[in-house]
Structures are given as C-alpha cells and as structure tokens.
Symmetry: C2
Subunit: 247 residues, 2 copies
Amino acid sequence: MNWQATLQLDGSGPLYEQIKRAIVRPIRESLWKPGDRIPPEHDLLRHFQASRMTINRALRELAEEGYVTRHRRVGSFVASPPAPTAILDIVDMATIIPSRGQHYRYERISRDIVKPGHELATRLGIGPDEEVCRVVGRHFADGEIVELEERWINLTAVPEAATLPFDDVSPNHWLVSHVPWTEAEHTISAISADAGLASALGCPAGAACLLLERRTFLDDQVVTFARLTHPGSRHRLTERFKPGSSR
Amino acid sequence: MNWQATLQLDGSGPLYEQIKRAIVRPIRESLWKPGDRIPPEHDLLRHFQASRMTINRALRELAEEGYVTRHRRVGSFVASPPAPTAILDIVDMATIIPSRGQHYRYERISRDIVKPGHELATRLGIGPDEEVCRVVGRHFADGEIVELEERWINLTAVPEAATLPFDDVSPNHWLVSHVPWTEAEHTISAISADAGLASALGCPAGAACLLLERRTFLDDQVVTFARLTHPGSRHRLTERFKPGSSR
DNA sequence: CGGCGTTAATTGTATATACAATAACGGTTC
DNA sequence: GAACCGTTATTGTATATACAATTAACGCCG
C-alpha cells in the first residue's frame, strides 16, 4: 500500500527521532492497526534517504517502547495496544478472575448517555454540555461481588462507545483492549461503606473498602474516568515493577 | 583510579551488553559511588578493544536505564540511586509532606534487631535465624499522624542498617536514598482499624485505613519489607504513569 | 505427498569514520 | 580581577559497510 505518503519527517530534531515520530503517528491514529506490517528497514532506508543504522535505531527504540515488535527474517509489526501495566491488568477483572481459576461474570446495572455534572466535567477535562457515556456494573468471582465499576467515557475521544451496550462485556475490558492511551492516573483510597455502597457490594455497612479511581489520557485528553470499588478486605492490589522505567 | 582491573567482560552475549554489565557491576556493588566519573568513551574504547559506536550504545542505554548521566564535553557519571517511582516517592513522607507546604516530623517508636517469625522470614526470603532490623515509627504532617511505618530490614542485604538508630530519619527515607534496588512489589488493601491500630494512628476504631505493603528487591534478594498504614480517608495515593515502560 | 537441505529476506550487532553540539579551560585584553 | 574569545575534550548523531543469526519459503528427492 502507499505508506510512503503517510510517513513524513517533520524536520525538527535528530533524524532518528523524526523517523520515530513519523512511524508512531499512524500507529497512534489507528491508521496502522496491531499486527500490521511495517515496511522493512531496507524500504524505509530508501524512503527516508537515511542509513540503515539510523532506521535501525529508530525501530529498535520503538520496539523498546512497545510500539512495535520485531523478528529476524520476519519483519516489524505494529504491537498490540499498550501492554496493560501490572496494576491495570489487575483491575481488569475479566482477565484476572479466570486466571485464578475462578468463574467470572459481569452484570450491567445501567447505561446512559448523559451530560456530566460540574465535578465530572472537570475531571474529564470537557465542557459541561459535552455528552458522556455512563455505565455502572458489577464483577463477580464465583458468584461473589469483587468490584463495582462506575464508568464515564468521553464520547468526544471515543465516539464508538456511544453505540455499544456494555451489557455483556464491561467497559473496562472493552476499553483496555480497544482504546489507545498515553498516560494513566490512579488514586487509591480507603473508604467506609455507606448504606448504598454496602448494598451494591453485598458487604456490611461500615466495612473498609478499597476505592481505585482511574483517569486514562490520550495526549492530555481524558479518555475515561472510572471509580472501581472493592468490598471489604476481600481484595488486594499487587503490582511489581522495576525502577528506571519512569524516569 | 585503576578502573581497568574492575571492568571485565564476561564473554556471554552481544558485546554492548557485556560492556553494560561490566560497567553496572561496580555501580551496583557501590564500588563506584554516585557522582563518580566514568572513564570517557575514548578510554573505554581502548580498554575493551571495541569501536566507539559500541561503547556509545552501552553508555547510552545505561543512561536511559538511569545508571549513569552524561553531558557533552563534561563526561559520564554514576547517577544517584534509582529514581523513586511515582508511588515510591509518594509514600516517602519526608519528601511529600514538605512539598505540600506542611510541617513534617518523624517519631521513632521502637527499633530492635530480631529474628523474624516464620511468616516474615518467608516474606523476606531468608532463614528464620537470620537477623533483621525492625523499626516502628510514625510520620506527622502539621502534627497530624499520616502514616504508621512498620519496617523490617534484611541485615544480610543491608548490613549498614545494623548500626543506624533510625531515631531521627525514618528507615523509609534512609533506604530510598541509600540502598539500590532492582524491583519493588506493592500490595494495597483496605482494612478496618482495630483498637491497637486506632490508638497508634489516632483514628476511631473501625475506621477504614489504607494499608500499603512493600517489598523491595535487589536481584531476587529481598532488601526490606514495610507495612505502611494510612489513617482513615485522610490519605490518598496518586500515581501517574505512561504505558510501555514496564513491558 | 512428506521430509530435508538450500536460499533468501530481514533484523541484530560490530566497525571505522566523520562532523556537530556543548561547555570547560586557558589565555588575552582591558 | 573581569570580560571576552579561541581551543579542546567529550558526547551526540549520521553514514557506509560487513557479517551473523533467524527462519520463512522454495525446491529437491524419496
């Protein structure tokens, strides 16, 4: 296909960085989808009029950053959406529950297209008249409630969500696998369950619950905001990571 | 000085990785301390009998990984210990409290050299007869308790800790700035304060508390284990991160 | 048709070389 | 001594080239 037209240098900064940006752009914009082949170094070399070492450095760094995967003799390919970080993975119940050998079920409670209130509009970084998709649902492991998910999706950033019912697959699960993001913010706190929360979670009133609030960004635009509540001490979040990665 | 003797290749894998390992070793072993000068590329080139591109790649990647810092015309230097990740930074109260403009105080409650029980020995990955340093203390912001720190330090990994009182500076703060690590594990949960915890934290019994347990590793050896308890909903942990870093 | 060796496409690493950018250093002048 | 300026050490990037490693694809042969 005519990839030559889409791969353009922007003329600012070192050449290998320009090449990186040129290749990242169609990936970010979903013009190139996961699994798509990236032209081999030899072709890029001719296209960009650069030496192979320079092309190689660009692609190698993109591979390190997770944008592409590379295999000898095979080629370079667009990688799957950003690998779920430990903590993100852990809060996708649809993934973690079955991996523990438990039966997983999701139940949607409600789904509406609404205008956010003032506070939510601020959190989502949108105007109070821009519509959002609000979904509430519960996640079960072997019949026991393990998470209450309250979800707001910015329809400006993810228009596709307006057409989805989220009755079978949770917003969390769908978003993790379908929507690219560049940054995530987590806030974790402990709260006491009030009467309403206790009944929604099936735990005694006053029980200590873990509240995880997450905002997901795509280039400074807030894609979605979620409040994930875990009942009692039935749940723990564990993540393991190496230093140096976030410097 | 005679760095030639300490920088040795191990003969396994690509040359640039061997060179990286050769340079990382004295850093890890604190033979080279933060701020120490690393021989310039030109010298390493002669020492390793490699081309400058290869030396450059090794040093460049070490800089990306945070082991060294580099400046044109100036040279390469051993970097400070691994930069605290967002969440690590946030739970070092000695750093975060003043940055919020609040008055910070640390109070040591106890310090002992003990043999860990069975459960703790397991968590620390040591035998039940190896001694550990156990420290309990509290962190205050403007006179209010914000964190209870229970700390166990593996003296096999950090013998220096046996000589420190930890009466003025918290184990957390000292460890963050003095002990290198390669991996960290966090477990976060919500608990209800029992009577003892409530009195230690100065919160009502039954209040929801955030419990952060952290294990810090150096090459699969557990350096330290901590239980950091935050009273009530007075505290939240927020971290913001980019994807791709932890793949 | 199935197994097997050969070929070739593609990425991985290494070298030698060149020039550019940065900033410390040394000397000159005022 | 202070301001200026050229020199130089060091890292940053770019190129051309070479060979190695991997493995898909092909063709050969039984």
